[in-house]
Symmetry: C2
Subunit: 335 residues, 2 copies
């Protein structure tokens, strides 16, 4: 697949880490793309680097409408409802996707506005603890999983299927791997492997800090790595975890049960951590085995660790193919 398969221009709303990196990658591949941010400082900084950007939301939406652009909502969750309303008013026929890390709430906002047929949910599993245009960079999405939701597929018309296909093409254009997932499954999965990670990192940071100066002086690389994401802006972590609260609570309950058992096993006259130590080691080994191909290698050729499923959107049985791909955590390509 090449970028020429994607025929719509891309209009990126929000030029933070994700939106900014997306604009850089698209421009770097000569795909027509332009961006908006409410921060005039970000817009000016991007403009100085030669990017086509604006802080006039109405203007950029009118342009998107005129050009039949695919709109990418790349702001934090709290700004989404306002953007949807603006889309309804100024770009009423544009299809759109998003990069928000929780899919339930945004799907509901879209549904409440009767926009389901114009929307495909997305979530690139890429990021750093840094945020804003200055943190954005080319290549952020290389070989990253980029979830594309498909709950609407059963009720979809030709227009939505074309939109869905273009979102998958957009993902491929920036070097990411499209992984199909239903909204609820995505949110449950990221609660485990992302939101719980933030909650744990922040808890460790606090317990370490409570240890005072000696403990902080002794903290080394294991503490540094495991608390790294606690450097993320609190508002971003709140937006993720609070909008995905039921799934986060469920993952947290599972974790707290393990910790309670561990506490019990360490409290007796013969402290015994073997259960957790072995289970954790095996789980981590499986993770490494699955992701092995993406580890640093001496070979310049990087191979994806995800199985590949190719499909033709809209053909008979394509939803079953998507369900199969989802169950494998597979990447998909359109042919």
């Amino acid at each position: 697949m090449t970028s020429t398969d994607l025929n719509r221009p891309i209009c990126v709303l929000g030029l933070g880490l994700i939106g900014g990196s997306l604009l850089r990658d698209l421009a770097g591949r000569n795909h027509p793309a332009y961006g908006y941010d409410r921060s005039t400082a970000s817009v000016r900084a991007a403009g100085r680097e030669g990017f086509d950007t604006s802080s006039d939301l109405t203007g950029i939406l009118s342009r998107a409408e005129e050009e039949g652009a695919l709109i990418v909502l790349a702001t934090p969750m709290p700004a989404i409802a306002g953007l949807l309303d603006a889309l309804g008013e100024h770009a009423p026929s544009c299809g759109f996707t998003d990069v928000v890390s929780v899919k339930t709430e945004i799907s509901q906002l879209v549904h409440q506005r009767g926009m389901d047929n114009r929307y495909v949910g997305g979530h690139p599993m890429a990021g750093t603890a840094n945020s804003g245009w200055t943190a954005s960079h080319k290549g952020l999405f290389t070989r990253a999983a980029w979830v594309v939701t498909y709950d609407h597929a059963e009720n979809a018309d030709r227009e939505w299927i074309e939109l869905w296909s273009d979102v998958v093409r957009l993902v491929a254009t920036v070097g990411a791997e499209a992984v199909p997932a239903r909204v609820a499954h995505h949110d449950a999965a990221v609660a485990r492997i992302s939101h719980l990670v933030h909650v744990f990192a922040e808890t460790l940071a606090v317990v370490g800090d409570n240890g005072g100066t000696l403990a902080q002086s002794l903290a080394a690389s294991s503490f540094r790595d495991s608390t790294r994401v606690a450097s993320t802006q609190p508002a971003l972590v709140q937006a993720m975890c609070e909008t995905n609260a039921p799934a986060v609570v469920s993952a947290l309950d599972e974790a707290m049960e393990i910790l309670a058992e561990t506490r019990e096993a360490l409290s007796g006259p013969e402290p015994d951590l073997s259960g957790l130590a072995e289970a954790g080691y095996s789980a981590r080994e499986r993770f490494e085995a699955r992701h092995g191909a993406r580890r640093e290698s001496v070979s310049p050729i990087k191979i994806s660790s995800r199985p590949l499923l190719r499909l033709q959107p809209g053909t008979k049985g394509w939803i079953r193919h998507l369900e199969h791909a989802e169950s494998l955590g597979a990447r998909i390509e359109i042919f």
Copy 2:
């Protein structure tokens, strides 16, 4: 301080990650040093690289006794009692230190054998998830904190003070920073910033694994970093946490209380993570501010982030100086 200040040869018992790296650094600085491992494979591998090593424990201890060497116990905890007995028999006048990550239990073993006046506890805060001679390398200890215990100082004679000074010199010789701490304070601190980190990493690895193939496929760098130490051999994690069980349980209780509060705050109709998100962010910022000088920098000159206290062991008030240094997490130098 230069390595010539350290006049005793060093006898390293155990050539794993820590012992092997210590031997490499000492040999690299031309300080007389030799090593023992019960694994003939490790001894042969080290020998092929030109290191003076043996798998004959009695032989190497007799040599240490003859040469007045400083012995470093660098095996995992389960082997320590046997080594202490061997030291009592074959190297009865040598002073010794250790690198075990928990100090209470080894101090008790030493005390039970009436060896307090020959022993100074140590713990280098350096390591990777890998172990064994093949994982050892030069420079592992550069700017790492290396705890040196001093509980025995109040009852110490001239011989012990000389031994203590030589352990501090050994630490400096390999580029580490000697941080004085009492046994109980050390064990409480490492429970927070190291052992709890292992328990959390293993718990996250298990909860992520329980999410199945989709969750594992979506797991990205935050999950990878926060579960990294779950790759440590389970036996090593068990040895650390089980021998430090009371302090680990105490740190775990503190963490579980935070998690329980977080669960509560996320469970209501208005989920709210602000408390933890802000506390975790601030704690992590303080950690970064403290360790800032050790971050990667464009400058070739690296400056320690720990305050420096210089002292003369055995002089009036030196124990108060040590207590002060401990409360600051400071590094010490002998003048």
